[in-house]
């Protein structure tokens, strides 16, 4: 167990993501957020552990379920909420939306909406690191639903063949939208494929930030020191539906309740309470509430992007008509 202040810090980071998304869900219901909104609630320990295990200049690429990873890497709640509200102060200037958070300053190189299509990109940023010898590692996340698509296979084939410093992480939240794993994968264990690629692998059920740091840390170290890719499957659970339009009728409330008892955020909070940190937890919660309320107000008050932004974000220089 690391020192209590570190644990309290992890708790606060997870709580920021949790409360950010609960407020995003509320804003969505109020019509302030359009399109799709895929919540990460239940999976926060993975994002927080990842950010702690990476160097600041390492690259991270993920799916459309991207709020948690952006916030954990350093995107402010203000920039994240403003993006959801479609405002020019958002992390992608209000042009990306929930599925396309980008924060180049924090090496969060995007959330992508085509399942599996981002995995070759991650092999590509790792390719660039190897080409330049800059010592950076790329970590890329995908869901169990992406495990079957062609780009997933091609990215891993090439990363293994060319020995690229990339860590592939399957965040297995048990459901490909509304379809359970048992109906999408003939072999439930995604990491069994690693042998075919000649890649080391790891598989575990996510219990805590510390565990994520330790397990991901090994693969990150391997990528950095020997330029070897790895495949990790981390079993997790999303408490909400696939997106805001999904009531989650394909699973029982007992199943959801069972996983909520194992929720790493809940478990860590209980642990820190028992360790006598109730006051500090209360103070952390209050500061998180302020941060999220401020983010919502900031997003509400921000201006929308104007049409003058469209041409210069499509081409550099004159528009290619």
């Amino acid at each position: 167990m690391k020192d209590q202040d570190t644990q309290l810090g992890f708790y606060r980071q997870m709580q920021v993501i949790r409360r950010f998304e609960e407020e995003a869900a509320r804003a969505y219901a109020q019509g302030k957020i359009g399109g799709f909104l895929h919540l990460y609630i239940g999976q926060e320990a993975i994002a927080v552990g990842t950010a702690a295990a990476l160097n600041a200049d390492d690259y991270l690429i993920t799916t459309y379920r991207d709020h948690g990873h952006a916030l954990a890497r350093g995107t402010t709640a203000r920039a994240a909420m403003a993006e959801l509200f479609g405002k020019v102060t958002g992390c992608s200037k209000g042009l990306g939306g929930s599925m396309h958070f980008f924060d180049a300053e924090h090496n969060m190189l995007g959330g992508y909406g085509i399942v599996g299509g981002h995995l070759p990109l991650a092999a590509g940023t790792a390719f660039a690191s190897k080409y330049r010898g800059d010592g950076r590692v790329t970590i890329v996340f995908f869901g169990d639903g992406a495990a079957s698509i062609g780009d997933c296979h091609e990215a891993m084939c090439l990363a293994a063949l060319w020995k690229l410093p990339v860590v592939f992480v399957c965040e297995n939240n048990q459901y490909s939208m509304g379809t359970p794993l048992s109906r999408t994968l003939a072999v439930a264990d995604v990491t069994k494929r690693a042998a075919g690629y000649g890649m080391p692998s790891d598989r575990f059920e996510c219990e805590s930030v510390n565990q994520v740091i330790e397990r991901f840390g090994k693969a990150i170290k391997r990528a950095r020191e020997t330029s070897e890719p790895s495949l990790i499957e981390v079993l997790t659970y999303r408490h909400r539906g696939h997106s805001m339009s999904d009531p989650g009728k394909y699973r029982t409330s007992e199943e959801v309740d069972e996983y909520k008892k194992k929720d790493p955020l809940f478990v860590l909070r209980t642990h820190l309470e028992k360790a006598g940190l109730a006051d500090k937890l209360t103070a952390a919660d209050e500061s998180v509430e302020q941060e999220i309320a401020d983010a919502v107000k900031f997003a509400d008050d921000s201006a929308e992007p104007g049409p003058e932004l469209l041409a210069p974000t499509t081409y550099k220089g004159a528009f290619a008509r």
């Binding site: 209000g94 940023t125 084939c157």
Partner: protein, 331 residues
């Protein structure tokens, strides 16, 4: 006077790539058979020896994978050249080109961009059949965020590949297998560039404008020679750059000739030719003396049979016929 060198079309492309790789070590090339095999069409011959396996990279048959990897590398500052064995095979990488290469600049609010060149032979070759004969420019020019060029001469081949490599956005560079052996003079000057978005009047004339690109420029010039014998003086424009499109040059010519034929490979439904017709009718309506005609690949998948293939792709006879019709001269 700049020094010229007589080379074949494939060597002109190579000269451009080699010069840019010497100029900028962020440039590399990846594709199937580009290295040890020396290129499926020998465009990259000798490049592995010159630059080594770090910068001339043989890829397995994974078009989507190595396109995506190159886009990722470009996002963080490298300048990849991707060679497809033919543009037909880019279809399996279409998602990478459409959803990543073209859109990352906008999705990221301008934080990231993708300086990448995708290149390959395009359109019909000789009896390569239904799946290997597509004119893919019509699919890609539709997409904002992409640029598309298709040179017809050796000098343009060199000058446009260099401009494409230096461009900060994705450029799709379309060659023709049938042009690879074409000989022509190219400037040796390493700063010789042909800008994107500039068409070229390759034959001046006053009676009708024939607009084309890539291989069809040569067919259009043959048609112009035949038309000249029949007293019709055709102007031939090589569009060169399909997006951005040089509508000024097209309109200036039609303003002079009052008649136009667009001749190209690709099916008649929509496409670059229809776009050109739309621009001309909007921008030069009062100058037109006849409806614009298009001479395209006929509206069928490409047949293998040699005579049927020739029947389906645009030829001199069909271009001459169209030119006569818009000039109201009986065939």
């Amino acid at each position: 006077m700049t020094a010229m060198k007589s080379v074949r079309f494939r060597e002109a492309i190579r000269m451009g790539m080699v010069e840019e790789m010497e100029r900028d070590d962020r440039v590399f090339i990846v594709g199937e058979e580009v290295g040890h095999y020396q290129g499926a069409y020998k465009v990259t011959e000798g490049m592995l020896d010159k630059f080594g396996p770090k910068r001339v990279i043989d890829a397995p048959i994974t078009e989507s994978g190595f396109t995506g990897i190159s886009i990722g590398a470009a996002m963080v500052g490298l300048r990849p050249i991707v060679e497809y064995m033919t543009w037909n095979f880019s279809a399996v990488a279409f998602d990478q080109i459409l959803n990543n290469a073209a859109k990352i600049r906008q999705m990221s609010g301008g934080q990231l961009h993708v300086p990448i060149v995708l290149r390959a032979p395009n359109a019909s070759a000789k009896q390569v059949g239904s799946q290997h004969s597509h004119a893919m420019e019509h699919f890609y020019t539709h997409v904002p965020g992409l640029k598309v060029v298709a040179p017809s001469t050796c000098a343009d081949a060199k000058g446009l590949i260099k401009s494409a490599i230096r461009d900060d956005d994705p450029v799709l560079y379309m060659e023709s297998e049938t042009l690879y052996n074409l000989k022509g003079d190219v400037p040796e000057d390493p700063e010789f560039l042909v800008p994107l978005g500039k068409a070229n009047v390759v034959r001046e004339g006053g009676d009708v404008t024939i607009i084309s690109w890539s291989r069809l420029v040569h067919i259009s010039l043959q048609a112009a020679e035949q038309l000249a014998k029949e007293g019709i003086d055709a102007e031939v424009i090589d569009v060169r750059s399909l997006r951005p499109l040089d509508e000024e040059t097209l309109v200036a010519s039609v303003t002079k000739t009052h008649r136009a034929v667009v001749a190209y490979e690709g099916w008649p439904y929509g496409g670059v030719g229809a776009e050109i017709v739309d621009r001309i009718q909007r921008l030069a309506f009062d100058d037109l003396d006849a409806p614009i005609e298009r001479v395209t690949t006929l509206d069928y998948p490409m047949p293998y049979n040699a005579k049927l293939e020739q029947f389906v792709i645009p030829n001199v006879e069909r271009i001459v016929g169209a030119a006569k019709r818009v000039a109201y001269r009986s065939a």
